[in-house]
Amino acid sequence: MAFLELINVSKSFGVLPVLKDANLSLDQGEFVAIVGFSGAGKTTLLNLIAGLLHPDSGTVKLNDLEITAPGPDRGVVFQNYSLLPWLTVFENIFLAVDQVNPNWSRQKKRHHVEHFIAMVNLTPARDKRPGELSGGMRQRVSVARALAIEPQILLLDEPLSALDALTRATLQDELSRIHQATRKTVVLITNDPDEGIYLADRIIPLTAGPAATLGPCFQVEIPRPRDRKAINHDSHFKNLRRDLIDFMLCSKQQRHTTLTRKLILPDIEPEDLSRSRPGFAGRSFARRRSEIKEETIEVE
């Protein structure tokens, strides 16, 4: 039985369909990356799993229980850190720990918080506020906060997209290490195929929106621990990367939309005399091309 399951999930905002019939099934301990274009609905998908949004149709199940509301069994790392700026690193994490384990002794809570601050290598910054930290450090705090509540599943919403390339690589290594150490089920949302391949056991592309859906899964068969340098020369990595990018680009190309636009043409064409003149009832059809007010064309 799958640990996390999405069955025919659809979601639209107003008239705009964002997700259509998305299906996903995850086993416990798996690290799955969902790769998609920006604006394709990745965050929407994650918010559905987090319970911050409700699907219009279909169900999201964790441990065979339908997800109806957010809860601490799912740790979320948001794209823009979402740390409370008036609390220090320690207090931000303590707030979460205190909320989830109200019965623990104060000593135990403090130890727990310290442990997770150490796990993301932030012990020297424990009494600083988010405003005094760099982007990478803030994101680590956010990861530590999500892990400290010991969730069943960790949801990462483009956690590294706002960081510079070097910091991103460091944090990818840390995520990989933490995953190895904790064996948590992780859903990573990202727009970087390389990041997905480096970190995940499985990669599932999200097709281009609107009405995006999850594509076929790509299994990553590179043994762990993965070496960032060696992986670039790995033929499996190269093939996987090529296939994934091909699939995503194709999904974008296949997507044809129709749109209606105003036609403004000079009136240079003669009247269509083959058509009979209408009576007093008025014209019911266009006699000149310029009288056609709109046309429907296909664009890519």
């Binding site: 601490p72 799912r74 948001f78 979402s82 008036w86 707030l95 405003g131």
Partner: protein, 268 residues
């Protein structure tokens, strides 16, 4: 030779020199006015001579309406503090409700927009009527009511704006952690709104101090405003100017004080 180089040696002192020039200009204008157009206006020198007693012995009490200027100021400040506290106690929760509930906003926003521009002079008689039964305390309660209801609006509106401006991210954190309603309020909403609230508090204090004068004038309570009105009726025009200056200086000091407090609560 450019003007800049001429100014240079004085540049260090312009924070002091320029205001002195400003004050001196105003004094000069006042002096000229008192000599020419407005013969009844006491000149600066006469104003000082008449006010000397009140300024040099600021805490002396010679009679109910004949006291040192700081003693009067103290009475006014106490009344303002009470009315202001009342305004904050009522205004802050009201602001939170407006910010949190669309229904509440729809129901009460039009009412607030109508009551907000009403002058303190209009509220005061109503306040006195409201507390007619209180007898001796009617004037104090009426004044408190007026100060509170006039000073409340900036706090109400700023708090509401602040609550609406709380980033969705913070609320998502609260939701994911399943914080209870009261915990969300105290751990997330209030800290996130605090900078807005303090801007409101500061504006409210300014208004409360404006209202005190009107309230004291009409009720005849001892205080800067009451003294001002009494001295006008007693034809001691110098003291009117003394009161105006006192009110201005105290208002300025209060505003500075609040902006220091406000800055302390600005979170990154």
């Amino acid at each position: 030779m450019s003007a800049n180089t001429n100014d240079f040696p004085l540049k260090k002192f312009d924070w002091l020199l320029l205001p002195i020039i400003g004050f001196a200009g105003a004094l000069l204008l006042w002096h000229i006015l008192s000599l020419t157009i407005a013969k009844d206006l006491p000149s600066p020198a006469k104003t000082w001579a008449d006010s000397r007693d009140y300024v040099m012995k600021p805490f002396e009490k010679r009679g109910e309406m004949d006291q040192g200027i700081l003693r009067f100021t103290w009475y006014s400040l106490i009344l303002v503090a009470k009315g202001y506290a009342l305004a904050l106690l009522v205004g802050t929760p009201m602001g939170f409700m407006l910010g949190l509930s669309k229904t509440f906003t729809k129901a009460f926003d039009p009412l607030i927009q109508i009551l907000r521009p009403v002058s303190p002079l209009a509220w005061l008689p109503l306040g006195l009527v409201l507390f007619l039964s209180a007898g001796k305390n009617a004037s104090e309660l009426g004044a408190l009511f007026t100060i509170a209801i006039c000073a409340m609006w900036p706090t109400v509106l700023n708090t509401a704006v602040g609550v609406r401006a709380v980033p969705q991210d913070y609320l998502n954190v609260a939701k994911v952690l399943k914080l209870s309603r009261s915990k969300t309020l105290f751990k997330v909403l209030i800290p996130a709104t605090l900078p807005y609230m303090f801007t409101g508090f500061r504006l409210s204090l300014g208004i409360a101090w404006l209202v005190i004068v009107a309230a004291e004038m009409l009720t005849g309570r001892p205080g800067v405003g009451g003294f001002l009105w009494q001295e006008y009726n007693a034809l001691n025009y110098s003291h009117i100017i003394l009161c105006i200056l006192t009110i201005g200086i105290v208002g300025f000091a209060l505003d500075r004080l609040m902006s220091v407090v406000e800055r302390r609560f600005k979170t990154a």
